[in-house]
Symmetry: C2
Subunit: 345 residues, 2 copies
Amino acid sequence: MQYIKEIVGKLKDIRNKKTLFVLVIATTDISLIPGITIAGATPELTHFTPAADAEFLLLGKCKSINTIPVTPDGIPTPAIITRAALELFKIPKLVVNAGSRVIPKLPVIDLGGEPGGDIRKGSLRIEVAQRILENSMILGEELSKSYDLLVIGESIPAGTTTAMAVLAGLGYDALDKVSSASPQNPKELKRRIVMEALRDLPTDTFGKISKLSDPMLIAVAGLSIGFKKEVILAGGTQMAAASAIIKELSKETLNNVTIATTRWIVEDPSSDIKYLAEQVGVSVVASMLDFSSSKYEGLKVYERGYVKEGVGAGGASTLALANGYTPNDILKKVEEIYSQLVNIS
Amino acid sequence: MQYIKEIVGKLKDIRNKKTLFVLVIATTDISLIPGITIAGATPELTHFTPAADAEFLLLGKCKSINTIPVTPDGIPTPAIITRAALELFKIPKLVVNAGSRVIPKLPVIDLGGEPGGDIRKGSLRIEVAQRILENSMILGEELSKSYDLLVIGESIPAGTTTAMAVLAGLGYDALDKVSSASPQNPKELKRRIVMEALRDLPTDTFGKISKLSDPMLIAVAGLSIGFKKEVILAGGTQMAAASAIIKELSKETLNNVTIATTRWIVEDPSSDIKYLAEQVGVSVVASMLDFSSSKYEGLKVYERGYVKEGVGAGGASTLALANGYTPNDILKKVEEIYSQLVNIS
């Protein structure tokens, strides 16, 4: 496990298990606020990003938009890392829609959710949040009949802002601690939105969660609770918020859960996943990927803090590393996929 | 295999395989024609039957309606047989929505389809039929990474009429050969609807299928084609129509496919699954269930030709019998479930 770094707690043995990778997608209207996220070429396009990520992950091409999701600077989605890592050893993948404005042109497991609204007014009605939770728990339980390890990734632009809101709303010291897909984390803007969302908060826990959470976080919590066996939360600081929801609803589930993220998240000076995870009480490990030697500028910029994580990149690469592949194997595969994309577009 | 009868071809070895049961649900507006189906207490309620069947199969209770689906006489859905058979040995289950007016309150895999319209005017637009086919093939392929045997059941009221239309439209001698959930098969009515639907038929195969097929048949065909390994089509004469679609689109897939139905279908004097399957060239086996000794009238009537099949009852019971359970084990479990239902309602 020389390429996996233990940040909080220890990595459990995740080798050679019957594994399923699930990508949970959702949207939040927070991503429409200019400047909040770079997970899409324009604020409006951020609502297409989760669908396009799902399509790229499963099919190797997008159908809902013409190219793969990129930042305004043209840097590609981390879905290429996830696809590369999972292609190395043929892990089955399913897409779960927790509530998205754009539905991928793919078979998608629908949880009967709805897109997340603006958390300043209230993200989800209680009954919608409840339905997402119930259905994701049912799904997790059903999947546990076939698999021993569930790796859960996410795609939701502006998800770090809703994550900050959930963590702060549940009483954690989280302001300015969540990361960003941008090297210039727009902390002021995030903090202002979150502070406004925290006003007039319901007093009960589930009321707070419904107001502040995006649909993805609730679905990730429900899947983890229903699955009962080993769970890898494949993501960055957002997964600390998912873990906080798990802790509120089913504390013992946290024993089965490990956050697996990328080196770029744990080394990010603008956020602090270690501090967040320690507060919640969830383990964190990181895949020690290194793109500095890549021949592609679009990949090298990961080393300068662009993108960092998403679409389960950290968890998928951790899984590959745990099963004997090296960071270089992953980079080679990523470059292979990236070169095809560059040639196509 | 003494309790499984081979009707056409031979049963393959389906014991101890990594198995998934998938229920494909859909609706067709044909079920709204009074007298065409008894799969619902009223014509309007038939559109709730697939959702309620799915809920009952997975959860043991319905959410979309207050009781389980029943015929106008109060005879319960065959989903109780499927649930009983699969409970005997813990087979994972997933629900696939190919196009239903009512969505189950459950996690459901959505294929991006639409409910089937009236086949006399045209059931599905070509692009919708194409989307159902493509997405079901993708799903089948993804599932083949985790499972070696796919058992596919269906729930769609009036599905035997659309099945008859597809078979006749593709050139098979099928008029009056499909079965019915009623002991009084409404053959005249079905034939009249099908004859009208066959007028002004497109000349190309997929155009014919889009006009005549319900969404379920196309999804079952796509799943089978994508899966590539062993497939059990768990149903009656409708599955001969699904097989006919498979034959048009991927003839070699038929070698992996076996229809597994109930004794009540193969002994039905009002239909002829053997003749249909021989024409298409697909194997058929039947589970030799016997409810004549049941203490419940609602189950005994299966022996008088009520219900007969549906929600994968034949295939699920065949699977249980192949894995060493007896018809009496299944009846006991069915009675246990049935008695709870009777006590609840």
